[in-house]
């Protein structure tokens, strides 16, 4: 099985290399056979990698511990469902997964590429295949998941306990697919530049795959935050960890890109901006992979110390310098078709959006690399902690929230100040009213008030537009309101899908503001029978049971929760110790409602029977997790194909002939 996997890996590498070289040579030599052959190689690469993937999964299922990767990441006691997680738990398996994901997405993208990018598709294919060849070469020669041990162990070491969590089924695959998926819009952009195209043919394909990568990254980041919240036991969800930042930065660049590309699509503007943005996002994704695998900075997320750092650093350098060179080479032909008509326009809002997002990405990058730079300078390593990011990025995120509220109300080209004031009147009044209400309730935190107010501004603006559009359609078509609303969204999918995604961002903002500024944390040591009070909750610790479960010892503590003197529910935080890993893992007990979470985690079991608890009340964090499915829904709506509305019909005969009444064919796009 492992041998078949190894051979498949090398075969995939050969196919990817052939496809990349063949695409370029076939175009240069004008050889349709070579071009078609290269195309077929692109299409069968994912099938060959599927064989490699199945071989590794098969090795896990059959518990073939002679395969070193299987030995390091599983054991006989591991539940079968964790084979999926074990597959990408280590460097080698995750590299295979990344290669497979890229192969599948590349084949799909090339197969479904629009007609107007066919001229430059060979260059796009070459970029995709060369990136894939890199990952396959590293996997095949430096981090092969099919390497064998010289003996056959009786049992494996087991999977990292931190990975045995529901979130781990989705968080790493989504994040890795999102990071590598960035290669697709990057490849379409590079293909267009290399092919010497000056217009905007690549915009549709770039936008589609940019949004797909964006939602995968967004989902991966949210799931990772949820995992950290429930399993790491500190009660938070984002630590500004270097590897967390390394995934956030390309997402920020992609967010700017998928907005800015709309300006190029509509008005032929921001051509240079979009090339720079996608190049920056791709470079940051490579940087993220370097951080995760090179191990220059320790992190709970990284794959630990690795010898792959230098190769990823070289690839990062190539991935940044070559696109930069191509950009400067094609710079003269990247002039925008039109200029900015007014600073009070949707285009200007998108420009401000680009600047804010890049600003946040730069601040995050600076905070992430500064410890490395201080170490390289021979000085004592200086770490950048959370307060730096909160203080600098916080106001920038609030600025983004403001733009989310105002931007959609601005028309293209030029807005009138009076109409903008009129459009902002109700959302502004609702925002102000909410702030005054919160002040009346004694809430004084300025950033918190600003965050809630801006969230109300955005949400009200969106709902108002939905209401006006529905009412207008109801009046003109006579449909009932529900049908009008559905048809309104169906007829404007990119627009309203974007609004649904904006609502998801407001929900995330709600959770972040609520938890960051209004949470309560209480650390206490309790003996059985003792109680403690946190806000309106009284928590009574009853006792702890100890249970041995194969590969771990579990300590289950029982805590009763009272409110207004009445028993409401019982929580059971769990702390498990894994002797083979010499580590403890926690499972917080969380009572979650849309208003707040009551979060209880046991931190320490003392010899005298007392237990250390961390108790938190986290307001509004529930909205963060619910935002995940909402952002996916918005993306699906935005990407759902919309039928062509205005096919141009070129008549089959000269117009002076009276042709009989029959439908003539449409000109294919």
């Amino acid at each position: 099985m492992a041998d078949l996997g190894s051979i498949s890996l090398l075969l995939a590498l050969a196919l990817a290399s052939y496809s990349g070289v063949g695409s370029l040579l076939g175009t240069w030599r004008r050889s349709p056979q070579l071009q078609e052959s290269a195309l077929y190689a692109t299409y069968i690469t994912p099938l060959v990698l599927a064989v490699a993937t199945a071989s590794l999964v098969g090795a896990f299922v059959t518990k073939d511990f002679q395969v070193e990767y299987v030995f390091l990441h599983s054991n006989r006691a591991m539940d079968i469902q964790y084979i999926w997680v074990a597959f990408y738990a280590g460097n080698e398996g995750s590299l295979l997964y990344i290669s497979f994901a890229l192969a599948v997405m590349s084949a799909l993208a090339i197969w479904r590429s629009p007609a107007n990018v066919q001229d430059t598709l060979p260059f796009t294919t070459a970029v995709l295949m060369f990136v894939m060849a890199f990952f396959l070469a590293v996997t095949g020669f430096m981090a092969n998941p099919f390497d064998k041990l010289p003996f056959v162990p009786l049992d494996g070491e087991g999977i990292n306990p931190l990975l045995t969590h529901f979130g781990m089924f989705f968080h790493p695959p989504a994040l890795m697919a999102g990071l590598i998926g960035l290669t697709l819009p990057f490849a379409f952009s590079m293909g267009s530049l290399l092919g010497g195209k000056t217009a905007d043919e690549w915009v549709d394909a770039g936008r589609t795959w940019g949004i797909i990568s964006w939602v995968l990254l967004a989902g991966g980041l949210l799931l990772g935050s949820w995992w950290a919240y429930t399993i790491l036991g500190w009660g938070g969800f984002w630590f500004w960890d270097p590897v967390e930042n390394a995934a956030l930065m390309p997402w920020l660049g992609l967010t700017a890109f998928i907005h800015s590309i709309m300006v190029q699509k509509r008005r032929g503007m921001f051509r240079m901006w979009n090339v720079v943005l996608i190049n920056a996002a791709f470079g940051l994704a490579l940087y993220g992979m370097f951080m995760n695998r090179g191990g220059p900075v320790p992190s709970v997320h990284s794959f630990g110390a690795s010898s792959l750092g230098w190769i990823f650093l070289i690839f990062l350098a190539v991935g940044v310098l070559v696109p930069l060179g191509v950009f400067f080479w094609r710079y003269p032909i990247l002039k925008s078709a039109q200029n900015l008509d007014s600073m009070l326009s949707r285009e200007a809002a998108f420009l401000a959006n680009n600047l804010l997002l890049l600003g946040i990405a730069f601040v995050t990058l600076w905070g992430t690399v500064y410890p490395l730079l201080s170490r390289l300078a021979g000085e004592e390593e200086i770490t950048i902690a959370r307060p730096f990011y909160d203080q600098v990025n916080g106001p920038l995120f609030l600025g983004l929230l403001f733009l989310m509220g105002v931007g959609p109300l601005l028309p293209w080209r030029r807005a009138n100040l009076a109409s903008l004031r009129r459009s902002l009147l109700v959302p502004g009044a609702v925002a102000l009213g909410l702030v005054l209400l919160l002040l009346a309730f004694g809430i004084r935190q300025p950033y918190g008030l600003l965050g809630f107010g801006l969230g109300a501004l955005v949400a009200t603006g969106i709902f108002m537009e939905w209401g006006r559009g529905t009412r207008s359609r109801h009046r003109s078509s006579g449909e009932n309101y529900l049908v009008s609303f559905c048809h309104l969204i169906a007829a404007n999918r990119p627009r309203y899908g974007g609004y649904i995604a904006h609502l998801a961002v407001v929900m995330v903002a709600l959770g972040v503001v609520g938890t960051s500024f209004f949470n309560t944390q209480h650390d206490v040591v309790l003996a059985p029978g003792e109680s403690t009070v946190v806000r309106e909750y009284e928590l009574r610790y009853l006792g702890t049971t100890e249970e041995f479960k194969g590969n771990r010892t579990e300590f289950r503590s029982t805590v009763e929760v009272y409110r207004d003197g009445k028993l409401r529910y019982t929580l059971t935080p769990v702390r498990a110790f894994y002797p083979s890993f010499n580590m403890a893992a926690t499972r917080a007990a969380i009572r979650s409602t849309p208003i707040e979470d009551l979060y209880v985690v046991s931190s320490e079991n003392l010899p005298d029977g007392r237990v250390g608890f961390r108790i938190l009340v986290n307001p509004l964090i529930w909205w963060m997790w619910v935002a995940g499915p909402v952002v996916v829904l918005g993306t699906v709506v935005a990407l759902w194909p919309q039928r062509s509305r205005a096919p141009v019909r070129i008549p089959a005969r000269p117009p002076l002939e009276r042709a009989p009444a029959q439908a003539s064919g449409t000109v294919p796009a």
């Binding site: 099985m1 041998d3 078949l4 051979i7 498949s8 196919l15 695409s23 175009t27 349709p32 056979q33 070579l34 071009q35 078609e36 052959s37 195309l39 077929y40 190689a41 069968i44 064989v51 007609a115 066919q118 001229d119 598709l121 060979p122 699509k265 509509r266 959609p408 028309p411 293209w412 080209r413 030029r414 807005a415 009138n416 109409s419 009129r422 006006r468 559009g469 207008s472 359609r473 003109s476 078509s477 007829a491 404007n492 627009r495 062509s644 509305r645 205005a646 096919p647 141009v648 019909r649 070129i650 008549p651 000269p654 117009p655 002076l656 009444a661 029959q662 439908a663 000109v667 796009a669």
Partner: protein, 152 residues
């Protein structure tokens, strides 16, 4: 068994990759450059998408009447210019079209009356489905389409 499976896999891959060289009449990977008509169609479609979005913005109250009319006029003139260039580059079509831009679902029925007029500038039109080549006003379309746009 593994060696057989691997050999079969390699053989299949080689066969697929080599196939275009041995079969006759391979199609080119690179399709012909879009002809001018297709490019013009795409440009016109983009302009009418922009007009629909403009109409939606106007109905939602995000743009005042004066600016709306100004931008609408500019889009229509641009569309008319592209259509005029297209008809000039294809002289076999004659002075106009018997059918032009229309919404999906319309059939190719000939014009009800040879004396159709543009609703915007009153110029003569070959039929009611053709956009006006003088001012660029779009073809007659159902009013329900006016709430449709394509992008935020």
């Amino acid at each position: 068994m593994v060696i057989l499976a691997a050999a079969a896999l390699v053989a299949v891959c080689i066969a697929i990759v080599v196939y275009p060289f041995v079969k006759s009449g391979s199609r080119s990977h690179v399709k012909p450059v879009n002809d001018r008509a297709t490019t013009a169609n795409s440009e016109v479609e983009a302009i009418f998408d922009a007009i629909r979005t403009l109409q939606l913005e106007h109905q939602l109250g995000n743009i005042v009447e004066g600016l709306y009319q100004e931008q609408l006029r500019a889009y229509r003139v641009k569309a008319a210019s592209i259509l005029r260039q297209q008809s000039e580059s294809q002289p076999d079509l004659g002075a106009g079209y018997s059918e032009g831009v229309t919404t999906a679902g319309s059939d190719g029925a000939r014009a009800d009356s040879p004396a159709d007029k543009c609703t915007s500038c009153n110029a003569d039109l070959p039929n009611k489905f053709t956009p006006c080549s003088h001012c660029g006003a779009p073809a007659t379309a159902p009013t329900s389409d006016s709430t449709e746009g394509t992008e935020p």
